[in-house]
């Protein structure tokens, strides 16, 4: 059983379109992170959200942490080809160890 479920698993869109990817769990997390991995590289942290209901913006990317701290979403406005990559969510489960738990990721392809 996957602790963090990400959807969709694959997403292919045209440049300029908007998209949202989701990260869901039945467990409560003290914090959730989003990473992006480009081909041939390791994942790199984009953002950390720690408060239920928190919204953070990073240029065209908007991250939201659910009120109950069980889910998160990443919305990209006017996608660009440079947004192509694997988006991973990761979190620290309340009552769990200090081990980060990763979702399987959403592979995004933005076509020109």
């Amino acid at each position: 059983t996957q602790l963090l479920e990400q959807s969709p698993q694959f997403l292919s869109i045209q440049e300029g379109e908007n998209l949202t990817v989701y990260c869901n769990s039945s467990s409560v997390f003290s914090s959730l992170q989003w990473y992006r991995q480009e081909p041939g590289e390791g994942p790199v942290l984009l953002v950390t959200v720690v408060t239920g209901g928190e919204v953070k913006k990073l240029k065209r990317l908007t991250f939201q942490f659910g009120d109950a701290r069980k889910d998160s979403s990443l919305h990209i406005t006017a996608a660009q080809t440079g947004d192509t990559g694997l988006y991973l969510c990761a979190g620290l489960r309340v009552g769990g160890s200090e081990k980060l738990v990763f979702g399987k990721g959403t592979k995004l392809t933005v076509n020109p």
Partner: protein
């Protein structure tokens, strides 16, 4: 170095041989993770080290896989009697957990691409 370093970057081995993959974490980072990533897929957790605690080996796929972390720093992932299905990118990450802050950023190496022929 400033980041997580993995070696070798590429490894081609014959089926049945043993391989060792090395990870040098960021200095001072107490947590170290190993993940496996097949082509175009997400991360598969293998093992987690945190300080002097017993490692979490719950992700190791078989007893052919083992890992150790010497002196709380460098880690080696060993795969014995390699099989073709072991072919993947093996990623290492390290972090410095700060309890209560929610800040546990994981820093990844660039991975070792293992090909078993």
């Amino acid at each position: 170095g400033a980041g997580v370093s993995q070696s070798p970057s590429n490894k081609v081995t014959e089926k049945g041989k043993d391989v060792e993959l090395r990870c040098d974490p960021i200095s001072g980072h107490t947590a170290l993770y190993w993940y496996r990533q097949s082509l175009g897929q997400g991360l598969e957790f293998l093992i987690y080290f945190q300080g002097n605690s017993a490692p979490d080996k719950s992700g190791l796929p078989s007893d052919r896989f083992s890992a150790e972390r010497t002196g709380g720093s460098v880690s080696t992932l060993t795969i014995q009697r390699t099989q073709q299905e072991d072919s993947a990118v093996y990623l290492c990450a390290s972090s410095y957990p700060r309890p209560g802050t929610g800040n546990t950023e994981a820093f990844f190496g660039q991975g070792t691409r293992l090909t078993v022929v």
